[in-house]
């Protein structure tokens, strides 16, 4: 860690899990004065009380326009706040936007003091996105397996097939239509639900 007083960092993120991941990362890197905010209500008063040096906000937050207007006008913000530090550093700005995060810093802060904070935030945002994607993939695979099981059950019951034959029929149909087995299974489950007095209910 560089010498000098630690910077006060405000993280505004409606996603509490992501915010805590960023918080942990910043604290591990030695930044002890990190505040998390999950809601925009009352933000002017919070910023006035906190006087943060760096404000990090996720790009999914629709209140960026309000925040930027507040930074320009409000008496709550005693020191001017600019976006990023060095606007010529387009590479790190692009990396931040790619990751889905933006940073505002008070005027006069040196680039080298802010850059590690931004880099840490970007890497944590990316890690969170990766995690969320893997979770979504796992979830949809599980869903897919469940729906295939139900489709097999419908075929076994309605056409008197064995379990391997029911699966083989689903697979064959999927291959001939160039679709996923889970999609075929979903169509079958939907159709069965529409046609019959419940296989499931």
């Amino acid at each position: 860690m560089s010498a000098g007083p630690t910077l006060k960092i405000l993280v505004i993120d409606e996603n509490k899990i992501r915010a805590s991941i960023i918080d942990a990362g910043l604290r591990d890197a030695g930044y002890s004065e990190v505040t998390l905010m999950h809601e925009i209500a009352g933000i002017a008063a919070r910023i006035e009380a906190l006087q943060p040096d760096v404000i990090v906000i996720d790009l999914g937050n629709p209140n960026r326009d309000m925040l930027e207007n507040m930074f320009q006008l409000s008496r709550a913000v005693k020191r001017p706040i600019a976006m990023f530090v060095d606007q010529s550093d387009t590479e790190s700005i692009a990396a931040a936007v790619d990751a889905g995060v933006s940073a505002y810093v008070v005027d006069g802060l040196k680039q080298e003091r802010v850059k590690p904070i931004l880099e840490m935030t970007i890497s944590r945002f990316n890690a969170f996105s990766r995690m969320a994607r893997e979770l979504e993939e796992a979830r949809s695979e599980l869903e897919g397996r469940k729906v295939v099981e139900r489709a097999k059950g419908i075929l076994m019951k309605s056409r008197g097939l064995s379990e391997p034959d029911a699966y083989a029929l689903l697979r064959k149909t999927a291959m001939s239509q160039n679709r996923k087995i889970s999609e075929i299974a979903q169509s079958l489950v939907t159709a069965a639900g529409l046609l019959g007095p419940g296989h499931d209910e």
Binding site: R64, D65, E68, L73, F84
Partner: protein, 411 residues
Amino acid sequence: MSAEHQIEAGFIPLFDSAVLVVARELGFASREGVNLNLHRETSWANIRDRIAIGHFDVAHMLGPMPLAFNLRLAPLSADTIVPFALSLGGNCVTVSNAVWAGMADHGAEADADPARAGAALRKLIATRNAKGEPKLRLAVTHPHSGHKYELSYWLAACGIDPLADVDIVIVPPPFMPDTLAAGHVDGYCVGEPWNSLSVVRGTGRIVTAKARIWRNSPEKVLGVRKSFAEARPEALAALLRALHHAARWCQAPENRAALADLMAQRAFLGVPAALQMPALSGRLDLGAGIIRTIDDFFLPFDKAANFPWKSHALWFYTQMVRWGQVAHTAENSRTAHETYRPDLYRAALKPLGVALPAANAKVEGALTVPTPVGSAGASLVLGPDGYFDGKVFDPDEIEAYISAQSQAPSK
């Protein structure tokens, strides 16, 4: 035609992104050889950032935004030009039921008349001040927006100082109805359907409309990163032709239902089609079932709606000066003059043989009746385009206009 031009476009889920959405979804873009990729965004700041770093080539923008970029009023600004406008009108001013009741006590009637509503609001504010009640909080969507400027213009012309007599705050458009219902703001100026939504819920009343404050006034534009326009002029021209056809389709009354259905999809606006009909027909429920037709409420095509008039940009500039956002200097006024690019509009549309205004600017507010104007190609009808207070804006007399308006509102 195969897609030879790949163009990335950002948009905000608002009704006036319709021309971009229709250009892609109904195939007008692909017919011009453009593969138009639409990216839905959550804030104008995101649009600005992604234009600046090159994620987007073009975007749905508030009319004054490109000026603010070029005048360096916003962080991370890329030089941006406007070769095409996406709409005229479309906004309303909505207030809470409590404010409406107070206005009605002071002579307001449910007729969307800006002069009458403004006079009532001024008297209500005087009454509130006398009782020591807090200032009214009015929300707009962005500091550099048509909403901010038309609301401020209306207030000032009615003797209300928008800087001293009310607090103007920023709220994202989709949050306006909830913010009003929760009592965090007393009123707002925003595009549809966010006014009708408060009326439908019984939590707000429409008191006037942009088209009544300044008829045929500019709203959203196509902002284009200047470096993109210079590097790929043919791609941009093809896009402008696609947007022209899309805008014509959006204006046609027979397409209203299909347009409302399209915009109702989750990927675009995600609000029920029925809520979008007031914007398309101009028949608005002002509250309590009182229906009024607002002429030229929202124009995606008619009255040369897509022409990027320099006089529109210059009027926005005069309002930036008026409300202290930028200093009036020769250099700034030149920047404002060069941001809107009617030359690019004409060059792109010339092969279509459609009506093209011959002038780059016009005297705003000069037309009291629909007026055929000098144009290349087919005939073109403009106006009426009056400001409600009867003033006119002559872009050749910008100094006089700025010095006359900078005086405090008449009380």
